[in-house]
Subunit: 413 residues, 2 copies
Amino acid sequence: MATITELGQRAKQASRALALAQTDQKDAALSSAADLLMQRADEILAANAADVERASAGGASSSVVDRLRLSPARLESMASGLRQVATLADPVGEVVKGWRRPNGLLIEKVRVPLGVVAIIYENRPNVTSDAAGLCLKSGNAAFLRGSSGALASNRAIAQVFCEGVAKVGLPEDSLVLVEETSYESAREFMRLRGVVDCLIPRGGPSLIQAVLENATVPYVIDGDGNCHLYVDSSADLKMALSLLVNGKIQRPSVCNATESLVVHREVAPEFLPKAVEALAGVRLVGDDASRALAPSIEPATEEDWGKEYLDLVLSVRVVDDLDAAIGHIQRYSSGHTEAIVTRDVLSAQRFAREVDAAAVMVNASTRFTDGEQFGFGAEIGISTQKLHARGPMGLSELTTTKYVVTGNGHVRA
Amino acid sequence: MATITELGQRAKQASRALALAQTDQKDAALSSAADLLMQRADEILAANAADVERASAGGASSSVVDRLRLSPARLESMASGLRQVATLADPVGEVVKGWRRPNGLLIEKVRVPLGVVAIIYENRPNVTSDAAGLCLKSGNAAFLRGSSGALASNRAIAQVFCEGVAKVGLPEDSLVLVEETSYESAREFMRLRGVVDCLIPRGGPSLIQAVLENATVPYVIDGDGNCHLYVDSSADLKMALSLLVNGKIQRPSVCNATESLVVHREVAPEFLPKAVEALAGVRLVGDDASRALAPSIEPATEEDWGKEYLDLVLSVRVVDDLDAAIGHIQRYSSGHTEAIVTRDVLSAQRFAREVDAAAVMVNASTRFTDGEQFGFGAEIGISTQKLHARGPMGLSELTTTKYVVTGNGHVRA
């Protein structure tokens, strides 16, 4: 079996050809891979069935098995995902900026692929084709390491994807899958400096910690979302209620779900009882002031304020004013998405400027922080760090830039 | 003495006020700090004299002592540096992009400060005010850790800078200097996750390696420059000679100096003897083909091709064609700056597209990769990594962005 370094070198070699591939060739490759995913559905589903059987026999929870399981419909959606990526604009080659210096030198900042994008991910086998498709369209080679539990599925999908890409003349190694899944191999994967240009871990806190401790390659962290909704004294309370319900209930298990409600004390007496009613089925925990107004709210602990529940649970706090709301959010925010409901333009301005998060919503649900909703067509993740990319990451965020400087014999004085 | 964490918290606190400071207030602070640097010159020079004496007594080399030593002229140039930064455009608040979604949601991507920018640097005390000035103008708090050898100088400069800033009502902690200089404290400094938003190490390979191994905060690496000049078969040889001499001799000790000459075999017989003559005083090492044409060239070892000499030494290689030139550069480049001299537009295009570096020069000296020369006014470093910033880093590269999303009660379907 090839070593991790050898696999990385294959991805790097492929990335050179991909960086120079024309858009129509990359689009043809995506479409060819999509066709082949459907044609070879039986093979992929058989491999997946083996993974599912192993997981069930090993006592995996039903949610783990559900994330692992593919169906003809899920395969179809993977294929249509690739076709969708083919329709998106190619970020590569964009001249981001250009200017001429007083000495006549022309400076152009041009968008180019990162090179090799490495992704460590957990159980979902659809990530294999989704990530590989985004990497390919942005001119990058995808260097993927999934979990051992999805190995047969990932191998089958990767095999088919690579064949599809090779059919139109792009490198088979546009996707390289690491099949070794030991801890040591993960560590090695994170330390291929000079080979991996960007690592994106997609998984829980222990994976993130392993990256922080071990990685020597550059990485982007796709972090937690402890998202707050602040209801200002001037808020349209009907609007506030609808944003709250949407943020909390529409899909509670995702990072842009609303996890905490912060209410101005002037509107709390009217708003909180309505909120409790509208959120029937949601467990509410809150401070004394909120519990005085809505006794069904349970007492919150200090830990609650910082928590990303990813479940039908909401923390509730009553504050004296906008300053206190911003102060509370500043203290407990994970820097993902924070929202205000207000009619007061000065409050909206202050909240948008002072709250430090990847996205600030004014009179909109926290659920909108999403590549699709932003119009990026697809996303590789949502960055909660400040370097390189912040917020939903689409194709552009899988690129870097290069300065092309043109003179006619310019030398420095 | 305050712990590193406490110092970091002070910087973080200050960063909140700085993020909201108006441009004219920041400019006034820079100008006030510049005035005070001149008014308190005696105090700073006395502190510096103590550092210099200690270094000399400790047997430091003359180049180390020279980098450490301040003079009235150097102080004057630090002050005028701060005044110059005050004249630059404020990057904060720029709306980088904005668009309205089909559902009416307005999405704006706004430039905001990073927060706390941490810098670890070596002997030069001028970095203290230069870095603090750039951080302040871009709305960031500067969290600085210099070397023990420059501690008295750094402390005096920081003291004066902070007083100058405080005079106009911005936080004194806009610059926080770490005075502990042990290895353990450096490690702690690199691991203040949640406090430090970006770490920029400015120093040699052992510092970079320490960052790669220990840092858990996001960082940007300011790396080596093994810069090549490729002389194409169609090159104007007079131009090529002038770019070569400028790149190698004008300032050999810097990262954008030319370290390697690659020559097309068709022009090598005419060009190399002229190059040898023009580079009198430069030690040349080369391959057999170059030595056959210019016998004063010494044999190069494999190690030479990858070397950043930072000195009057140049490696020389003769290649068969553009492909071989790109192949050689691809193999040995450090991704900083690569240059081509050519009259052939197709060669220029291919070189600019295929060579993977922060900057590609077409008919211009490698020495132009520089914030000042690019028109940024000042630079905090030159990034050779691909994430966040690539190439010269000016004020914009000390910022991140935030999405401000405005609706009128938008919820997700």
